[in-house]
């Protein structure tokens, strides 16, 4: 229990540093998640409409799936240098695939009969996308966003290795100077942050699912 007391004392004494790292961690994760959605959703919808796009993107993602998150982070470094921007690029690479895959599957699996009926009612393609396909696809897309969120919160911890800042810095420093309390200063908030992201993002997913099934 002593180490927990030490960890809390450290946070109290270094609250500005702690909050700054927390802010960077959350900012990095949210920015990467946002970019991942901006890339993944349009590509996913396009893949659902085009066989070529789907086969190319599924092949690329199949390869990307076996590349460890740590490798993505370190591999970006020789080309972009150290820092926040490099970490953001790497995290976006990790965030986009789950969003893309789920968007692709969700739009692909919209019942063609429903779309057919909408065409028969005289809806334009844009209207069908906005009012028919997107509401039906949304729950599965949001599951992908939640998966991506878990990935970026976790990998933002690894960003400390490439000078990206965030809570991982306490963990890296804690291990380097053999300070168990410092390890906990990084690890416990990161674990809670991951659970928080997971919990918060489950809400819109749940709502979207209820709307579809009702």
């Amino acid at each position: 229990m002593g180490v927990f007391v030490d960890a809390v004392r450290y946070i109290a004494a270094n609250s500005d540093r702690f909050l700054e790292a927390l802010g960077i961690h959350v900012g990095l994760a949210l920015a990467a998640l946002g970019l991942g959605v901006l890339i993944g959703v349009p590509l996913g919808i396009w893949a659902a409409r085009s066989r070529i796009v789907s086969s190319v993107s599924l092949n690329v993602l199949g390869v990307l799936r076996v590349v460890p998150s740590l490798a993505v982070l370190v591999l970006v470094f020789p080309y972009l240098g150290l820092g926040f921007r490099t970490a953001l690029v790497a995290l976006t690479v990790l965030a986009a695939p789950p969003v893309l895959i789920n968007t692709y599957v969700a739009y692909r699996d919209v019942d063609p009969a429903v779309v057919e009926a909408a065409v028969g009612m005289g809806m334009t393609r844009g209207q069908i996308l906005r009012w028919i396909e997107t509401p039906l696809a949304l729950p599965v897309v949001l599951t992908g966003v939640r998966t991506a969120a878990g990935e970026v919160v976790a990998s933002a911890t690894l960003a400390a290795f490439i000078g990206g800042g965030g809570m991982g810095e306490f963990i890296v420093n804690g291990l380097a100077v053999n300070n168990v309390a410092l390890l906990l200063v990084g690890a416990v908030p990161v674990a809670l942050l991951a659970l928080l992201f997971e919990g918060v993002l489950a809400v819109p997913e749940h709502l979207a699912r209820r709307r579809v099934t009702s």
Binding site: P68, L70, T157, F161, G168, A191
Partner: protein, 208 residues
Amino acid sequence: MTYLTENWDVVLRLTWEHLYLTGLVLITAVALAVPLGVVLAHFRRATTPALGLLGVVYTIPSMALFALLIPVTGLGTKTAATALVAYSQYILVRNTVAGLRGVDPAVEEAARGMGMTGWQMLREVRLPLALPVILAGVRVAAVTVIGMASLAAWINAGGLGVLLFQGLYQYHPVKMWTGTVLIGAIALAVNRVLLILETKARHWAGAG
């Protein structure tokens, strides 16, 4: 490429360490998860809280999980293996429960009618029928563990992650790429082998 020709013995040793760690983790994890899944498939009320708890562990970022274990198990393979086993429990237990629950009740009824005991039914009917789903879980867990094991190098547990960290700290891209390609190749190969076993098990379950 001169790096590879001059240091193939090091690369080979790290590859072996990586395979050893992930093999050890997967065998231990399956040995824990399958009995746990069998018990949970029986006690329906306990399933949701138990999977919820394992889900929490699964959500904790690997680096945080490693860091939380260091005060308990110290640096090295023990910590890396414990974290990876704990992490993969969610996938493995969930699939074991789903596989066992998916067995047609009529088949179980027929086995009971033939006078099979609970153990016989489990061993000869329910587990073989659940095997494809269990193996699908093992496959997902294996690919995840192979990737995550690269972080083991950070806590002195060796493996191909050593090449990633050395590449980073020595500014040596060839080392990074060597590590990445080898880890990816191992994951792809293991994925392929388990996929074949899964298909075999599915045929077998369908024919049986």
